[in-house]
Amino acid sequence: MVETKEEKKTVTILFAGDSGDGMQLTGSQFTNTNALFGNDVSTFPDFPAEIRAPQGTIAGVSGFQLNFGSVDVFTPGDNADVLVAMNAAALKASLLKLKIGGTIIVNLSGFDKKNLRLAGFLNDENPLTDSSLGKYRVLEMDVTKLTRACLADTGMTVKHIDRSKNMFVLGVLYWMYNRKLDTTLDFFKVKFKGKQDLIDANTKVLTAGYYFGDTSEIFTSRYEVKPAPLSKGVYRNIMGNQATAIGLIAAVRKANLDLFYGSYPITPASDILHELAKHKNFGVKTYQAEDEIAAICAAIGASFGGHLGVTTSSGPGIALKGEALGYAAILELPLVVINVQRGGPSTGLPTKTEQSDLMQALYGRNGEAPIPVVAPCTPSDCFDVIYEAARIAVEHMTPVFFLSDGYIANGSEPWSFPLAKDLVPIKVKKLSAGGDDEKYRPYVRNEKLVRDWAIPGVKGLEHRVGGLEKENETGNVSYDPANHELMVKLRAKKVANISDTIPDQNIEIGEDSGKVLVLGWGSTFGACKTAVTELVKDGVEVSQAHVRYLNPLPKNLGDLISRFDKVLVPEINDGQFVKLIRDKYLVDAIPFNKIMGIPFSSQEIKEKVLEILG
């Protein structure tokens, strides 16, 4: 057979199967291999909240989408070029995400009578045999059967053998995209350390899949996706939650502080706890608390003791922490609060993404309790932004909110990581001795209105803090009316002053004035950037600005907005940032919302921009 090679700039692949089929692992292996090859990569895992929903059903479908290319990629791709469907339910659940003319690789065993029935194909309906898939190219393989044949003489049980079938598919894809198996073979050695039989079995299946691609003649061509012209540098692949964890360790190292991490398990935030628990050799103290309230209170206690206290959760857990957030604000102690947002309200959609909690972060407390809020916009940006959150917390003696979400927390991309020496220093001012005053006054402030961090163990600084309103400077309990107003204003001004230390808002793409500004925050970055880049190329007068500092906002943001005729605010919620923009700047900003637990496609944003241009 003559092998033809077709060159592609970007390819989007969607792996879909049962939640027990190992699609997340397959996807992340394919990602790592492509990243190491030099492609730009963006990923989006999409899995059910149930650990093992009933096998073969739509509810149990787990997906992993990745977009890789020889050009810059900013999103996991609007629609897939290739859909891997391990069973009928996976096909049914994912078909809408496939481009017309796209390729479907199906596992035939997943389309037997039982699987078809479980997927809701009734009356002997079978998409593989009727003409319903006519718009696509379907490549059939009996992955289950081939994997079983491959491992028939190993003495493994069928149940165990079937667990390797995802590696067969991975092998086929490595052949299709002309990739080496090395990264995954190395992975087996680590993952199955000490279990040589498993290393051998998975190696055998992966290799068999690769050769199957080569010899089976069902593939008419291979594809070539050359390395992307990424900026010079050393790269690694990184997921958002991982970047968040590493960023915290980097921040405490640069601040010469210890890290105390109080957390209660919750999706999709727990991976930060898992990552940090691996790094105890950095002196990290991870504390799995009995509940969300204990997690934040313990972190506040640690901050009082001179550590950087950090607590993490997702929407419902943050709601439980509300009282303690106000408490941290009135104590004026450093605290980093991570919210990996998910669909709400209440328990909502635990595994689906949503920019659900901006209002909660800004206003979700009793009384006047302003808290700085920052939000990363890509997986690797989590590193820079959590580092900023830690810097603001200790340099300004305040709790700080970090709003990530399920999309960037679980997504991944190549990251040109920094060297430790190049990270900006974080200045911590802990008092080391009592002053001249006979009684230490804990709420005396510097020119930025920041109080000192006076830590137990230092003679002469003995003092009491609490949630009751405190007298200016002395910190003694005070019910004086004028004092209360003064303290509320001082705390608010202290937070507002942070805008002096943050960068001006930049225009990401486009001119600095024009007809439309696409103004986003958080995880909509990639879709906005792709859309605006393409529109600008088409000659549309549109620009993009993406805000990382949500409270306080960059000082120049109002001026920047005023230079555009229209401001479009796309959000994965029912309109939260848009309210803030309208409130702060009295502009008729246009909301654009999607509340489906999935990110925007760049196409949706493009169409909306064109629509408002008329």
Partner: protein
């Protein structure tokens, strides 16, 4: 004339532990006595003010840290135990005291209390039990006996009450003791023992709220009755009580029985208190008869139980050291780079 000597340890007095803040409890409140005993105990123990932290929740008792010239945290309702757990994990070197009440510790903070006890951080908990909500002006608490008439229970409370020490023992507390506001000497002795114990020390202190629940414990605290209603626990000593020390406790199987000490019963037949016996401590915490319901067993005071178990903050430190031994001191550049990198030239 007093000369301040440099580099010399100056023995502090109880007054040195008092802050400059005016104490604002109701006149006649049992809290005054407890404050005084704590201050003088700290002076006796010889801890430094700067190394001592008082952490409280919300309620009358929780104003305590404001009156101590040490470091102090007045935290949230029910959360003193949670906050102190983080503080102590971060700073094992600090002498940490938690001040809480029956509402704070047993109701809104019940969850954190039991988890602190199982983790066994080396802190001291002073649970001021007055069987009432004082700061909110007199509602029944989880420690109020069923039938207690208050503003929120005009026909009598319907909730079965907690037995605080039985609860704590159930959570595997490693030190439980009971004392009272009206016996300063006993209280100081128990506070010192609590401080000496390595692990979480739970001290329940019967405290009179003379405004909303006056006399709740008078049966046990007043001279006229206390002889026959209280039992002073002493390690290695037989359980003897009574105005004339003529009553004792004997075990009939697992059932405690009050016996008169006469020709037929000698002290050799009595239950001898053993602080390390968890099963018997369990029985002692169940000496919980309600006086008004016709009391038979006396209420025990003193150290019920003491056990040596590893403390959480030390285990945290040990694990960190193990991680360093195995992986070496964390290197930030390696962490940033991760396991797989590639270079774009």
């Amino acid at each position: 004339m007093s000369i301040k000597m440099e580099n010399a340890e100056i023995k502090l007095s109880g007054k040195d532990f008092a802050s400059d803040q005016e104490v604002k409890w109701c006149p006649g409140c049992g809290d005054y006595s407890i404050l005084k005993q704590v201050q003088s105990t700290l002076a006796d123990i010889g801890v430094k003010r700067e190394d001592t932290v008082f952490v409280s929740g919300i309620g009358c008792s929780s104003r305590f840290p404001y009156y101590m010239n040490t470091y102090g945290v007045h935290s949230l309702h029910g959360r003193a135990t949670a906050l102190a757990s983080g503080l102590k994990t971060a700073r094992p070197d600090l002498n940490t005291w938690i001040v809480t009440g029956d509402g704070d510790a047993l109701s809104i903070g019940g969850n954190h209390l039991i988890h602190l006890l199982r983790r066994n951080l080396n802190v001291n908990i002073l649970l001021f039990n007055n069987e009432i909500y004082g700061l909110t002006k007199g509602q029944y608490s989880p420690a109020s006996p069923k039938g207690t008439i208050t503003k929120s229970s005009p026909m009598g409370s319907l909730d079965h009450s907690f037995n605080p020490l039985a609860l704590c023992l159930g959570a595997d507390s490693t030190f439980i003791a009971r004392s009272m506001d009206r016996d300063p000497k006993h209280l100081r002795a128990i506070l010192a023992e609590a401080n000496n114990h390595i692990g979480t020390s739970m001290v329940e202190i019967y405290q009179n709220c003379n405004v909303f629940n006056d006399g709740a414990f008078f049966t046990f605290t007043e001279k006229a009755t206390k002889g026959n209603t209280t039992l002073q626990l002493e390690h290695g000593q037989p359980l003897i009580f009574g105005d004339n020390r003529d009553l004792g406790i004997k075990l009939d199987g697992f059932k405690p029985v009050v016996v008169a000490l006469d020709e037929s019963t000698s002290t050799d037949d009595l239950w001898v208190h053993d602080e390390s016996d968890q099963v018997k401590a369990g029985i002692l915490t169940r000496f919980f008869d309600i006086p008004s319901a016709g009391m038979t067993l006396p209420r025990p005071f003193g150290v019920f139980y003491k056990e040596s178990r590893s403390v959480y903050e030390e285990d945290v430190a040990i694990q960190i050291n193990q991680a360093i031994e195995i992986k070496g001191e964390g290197d930030l550049n390696s962490l940033l780079a991760g396991a797989n990198t590639w270079e774009v030239i």
